[in-house]
């Protein structure tokens, strides 16, 4: 069995940034495993502009953004294997992976899981009707168009206003397809506002809020879809149903962290994020297994993925280098009903006092609120926001001074306060 000190599973932006930061922290025995035939992850199919505004202060395409990190990996001569799929991770940090050379069995001192996320399929949305060709997830369509140069259809309806769906609305329009509607079950979009403007409004594509696709028609290929308004409980009001002729239905109905490997290693998974429950080192419930990027929780911007991954890389190196394994007392971060989740969910007591970032999402649209953090009864962070929405991840950056207070607290809470 081969031994490596730091094994990184997934060579997307998260894995790449983690590898680079671990290297820069002094670690030299790193291996990245990637199942695709190149590094870069999902960014390879995101050929539109808009990546890297935060990190590089310029607008890059997905592949360009990825290339910046690939270059850094190559410069540092960090080893990686492509076309190599990890099929199993155990909680003793042994890993099996497959490639055309055979079965790889590796024992690692620390593992960073950075395997990204996948799209929710049609089954998850309970749409009745036929099961013809022409129903694809938006990401599949993106791959068909951008990588394979194939056009999935000519008359398109998109269900879900997630970012990938919005981007695909524009992309398909550019390619000569007619996008007839984007249908969103919620009264708000889960995508970025700038994408609604640039991808729909600029092309006069109608966006139906509080509507859903209730039926797909067509035996062999999609012929039309039936759309209806939904009530507050998201049940369709059939009397409002209308039909749109189309040959393609794209689904952009959410992303799910890909945690099959983590489950196999008995990592505790959050029911809300569907990613691992991590502490402020981004370490999971299994000693020495870390998570970052979309496998931990779905990010809307890759810049945040890179930041989070940098942290994971550093913490993994600290973990590997610390000879004695410390036992920590843990504080679980509480949220109110409005904040759906916060990552990290666990703060270690009396650990180091470096700055710390909370990432969170709210469960609904809230206006004129304050985003606050309290340690015991003291409010240690408060920021006014005109609006927060489920589609946009919020970050809270705490300075050393505030982190200190948190680390000695009995209870930590992240919540929204309405502003009078």
């Amino acid at each position: 069995m081969k031994h490596v000190r730091l094994l990184i599973i997934g060579g997307g932006p998260a894995g790449l940034a983690a590898a680079v930061s671990a290297y820069d922290k002094g670690e030299r025995d790193i291996l990245i495993l990637e199942r695709e035939n190149k590094l870069g992850g999902i960014l390879n199919q995101c050929i539109h502009n808009g990546f890297g505004l935060h990190t590089f202060k310029e607008e890059l395409t997905g592949p360009e953004y990825a290339q910046r990190f690939i270059d850094q990996v190559v410069e540092r001569k960090i080893p990686y294997l492509l076309n190599t799929t990890v099929i199993n991770v155990n909680n003793d940090k042994t890993v099996s992976a497959l490639n055309e050379d055979g079965l790889l069995e590796i024992k690692a001192d620390a593992i960073i899981l950075s395997c990204g996320c996948r799209e929710r399929p049609r089954g998850a949305i309970n749409t009745a009707g036929s099961r013809p060709a022409g129903v694809y997830s938006a990401g599949t369509a993106q791959k068909l168009v951008n990588i394979d140069g194939l056009l999935p259809g000519k008359e398109v309806v998109i269900l879900g206003s997630g970012d990938i769906g919005l981007i695909m609305a524009r992309r398909m329009t550019f390619e000569g397809a007619k996008v007839k509607a984007v249908v969103e079950i919620m009264p708000y979009s889960s995508g970025l506002n700038r994408n609604i403007v640039q991808c729909l409004n600029d092309f006069n594509i109608p966006l139906y809020f509080s509507h859903s696709v209730v039926e797909i028609k067509g035996d062999k290929r999609v012929e039309s879809v039936v759309i209806a308004e939904v009530d507050e409980r998201l049940n369709p009001k059939m009397e409002t149903a209308f039909e749109i002729k189309c040959d393609t239905l794209l689904l952009s109905v959410g992303l799910l962290p890909e945690n099959e490997l983590a489950r196999g290693a008995n990592v505790d998974i959050s029911r809300v994020t569907r990613g691992a429950i991590v502490d402020d080192r981004l370490m999971t419930s299994v000693d020495g297994i870390f998570e970052c990027g979309n496998v931990l929780h779905v990010h809307d911007l890759v810049d945040f993925v890179s930041q989070e991954a940098k942290e994971a890389g550093e913490k993994a190196v600290e973990y590997i280098n610390s000879s004695a394994k410390k036992e920590y007392e843990k504080i679980i971060v509480e949220t109110d009903g409005k904040v759906r989740y916060v990552v990290p969910e666990i703060i270690l007591k009396n650990d180091n006092y470096n700055p710390l970032t909370f990432k969170l999402r709210v469960g609904n649209v809230y206006k004129n609120i304050k985003l606050e953090v309290s340690a015991d009864d003291e409010v240690i962070y408060s920021k006014s926001k005109q609006v927060v929405a489920p589609g946009e991840m919020e970050t809270i950056s705490l300075r050393t001074k505030e982190v200190e207070k948190m680390r000695i607290a009995k209870s930590i809470k992240v919540y929204l306060r309405s502003e009078e």
């Binding site: 079965l103 069995e105 056009l151 259809g153 489950r263």
Partner: protein, 478 residues
């Protein structure tokens, strides 16, 4: 060329008969209107190898079910398809159900089904802790099983093929006539075949095929059954098949594991005029799931990964017709093969093949090979097996479908077999690529490439399920 036997339909009945007949020296051809084997009812049902306690004693259903079910273990050894004897409960939710349970037990005894007993709700929950507290009693049938029906039909077809049987697809039979002792069979695409015996195994359309030539008319009514399928993550829900005891409220639905560890919930029952319409309905899916909650209150709605429906071939005699037509010599009819048709299929096939062989005076095929090896799945291999497989063929190390862990080698194997996969659904049914939680989101483009390469097609010719179902409409603008 004149065939000894022409079989219309490649469902579990047609393929099983083809395989049984290939034990004889005969020219056999199977025609199907779809692009592949098993695209009718055989691909969309509960997949239960019923023990045989349900069918009315003395009926053909009871006769063939009990005999058929007993043949599965041996067939699995020969043909290497997924089958498991997992046992079943018929759950009763009130004390009133006791008499009906006794009646079922009595039927089991009359039909000759072993291993049935009545047990208390607590005993049920000891075996299956997720079963509802409202269950007071149940019939336990130890010999009930589950099978992957389409994989079984594919195995039958491959073995028949290896023993000389021919298969042709996209052959919709529209005319059946007889000139002297020979049948003339015409298909929609203009082909004509001639055969001594025609086997009518056309499922929900077997009435129409019969009625093309016979004066003994049949009428099949389609009855739709809808299902939802849950992610493998929830396989813990039950290892045993959970039926509900029929009540005044209706027949009830089942919650069962599949051979691939998903949980299947359904079927509903809805009469339908269009016998090919397997569209699911909003109400049907709701009903299936809600009724499933009665048996297992913790069924997770969010765990649903897909939905489907199948059409029951209900015929007014309410029993199987398995015989030579009374007025058309040489037409062998299989009509009204509804549940437990799958469980019965091995017995139906050996009975039918024997009658046909006698009729044609066929002699045994000395070269008949009963063994068919399934596609080697990397997800079932031990580390050592994996290493050897990859050394042999590196493509076993190239994972194409991540959810079900399927390699490129398996997909190529599925396409190269006879009759092999020709479209995405065909690949999916043979190796499960695309059947997992992402439902082809990830592997569609990759499988398209492999299909194109193997079948010498361009990417924009690849279909989901044959003509009219192309995945893409062409290339993008330059």
């Amino acid at each position: 060329m004149t065939f000894d036997v022409l079989i219309i339909g490649s469902g579990i009945i047609g393929t099983s008969i083809a395989r049984e007949l290939s034990k004889y020296q005969a020219n056999i051809i199977v025609l199907d209107k779809e692009n592949d084997v098993s695209c009718g009812t055989t691909k969309a049902n509960s997949g239960i190898v019923h023990a045989g306690f349900d069918a009315k004693p003395g009926s053909k259903k009871a006769y063939f079910n009990v005999r058929g079910a007993r043949m599965f273990k041996e067939l699995q050894k020969e043909l290497d398809f997924p089958y498991e004897e997992n046992g079943a409960f018929v759950l009763s939710f009130s004390a009133d159900g006791h008499d009906t349970l006794l009646e079922l037990l009595d039927r089991a005894q009359k039909n000759g089904v072993d291993g049935c007993s009545i047990i208390s709700g607590d005993e049920v929950r000891k075996l299956e802790p997720n079963v509802s507290k409202d269950v007071v009693e149940a019939l336990y049938a130890k010999t009930s099983g589950i099978v992957s029906p389409y994989e079984m039909a594919i195995a039958m077809a491959e073995n028949a093929g290896a023993n000389g049987c021919k298969f042709e697809f996209n052959k919709d039979v529209i005319s059946l006539t007889k000139k002297e002792s020979l049948f003339e069979v015409k298909t929609k695409d203009g082909s004509t075949y001639s055969a001594k015996v025609v086997v009518n195994a056309s499922g929900v359309h077997s009435d129409e095929i019969n009625n093309l030539i016979s004066n003994n008319k049949y009428e099949i009514k389609g009855r739709k059954g809808e299902y939802v399928l849950l992610d493998k993550e929830f396989s813990y829900i039950s290892n045993t098949t959970l039926f509900q005891l029929p009540t005044k409220m209706g027949k009830g639905i089942l919650v069962t594991p599949t051979c691939h560890h998903n949980i299947l919930v359904g079927p509903t029952a809805l009469d339908t005029d269009d016998k090919d319409n397997t569209w699911t309905t909003f109400d049907g899916l709701f009903e299936a799931f809600t009724k499933g909650l009665l048996s297992v209150p913790s069924l997770p709605r969010g765990g649903i990964i897909t939905q489907f429906s199948g059409i029951r071939a209900h015929e007014s005699h309410d029993d199987f017709t398995i015989e030579f037509s009374k007025d058309v010599k040489g037409l062998y009819n299989l009509i009204g093969i509804e549940s437990p048709g799958l469980a019965s299929s091995p017995a139906i096939a050996s009975h039918a093949a024997k009658e046909i062989a006698d009729y044609l005076k066929l002699s045994p095929n000395p070269n008949f090979n009963p063994i068919r090896k399934g596609i080697k799945h990397i997800s079932h291999m031990t580390s050592e097996e994996l290493k050897d497989a990859i050394k042999d063929n590196p493509l076993y190390g190239h994972v194409i479908c991540r959810c079900e862990v399927v390699s490129e080698a398996e997909i190529r194997d599925a396409i190269r077999r006879y009759p092999g996969a020709k479209d995405l659904d065909g690949v999916k049914r043979r190796v499960r690529a695309g059947m997992g939680r992402c439902q082809m989101g990830f592997c569609t483009p990759r499988i398209m490439e492999i299909l194109a390469e193997e079948l010498n097609l361009s990417l924009d010719e690849i279909t989901k399920k044959g003509e009219g179902s192309k995945i893409v409409v062409g290339g993008i603008k330059e």
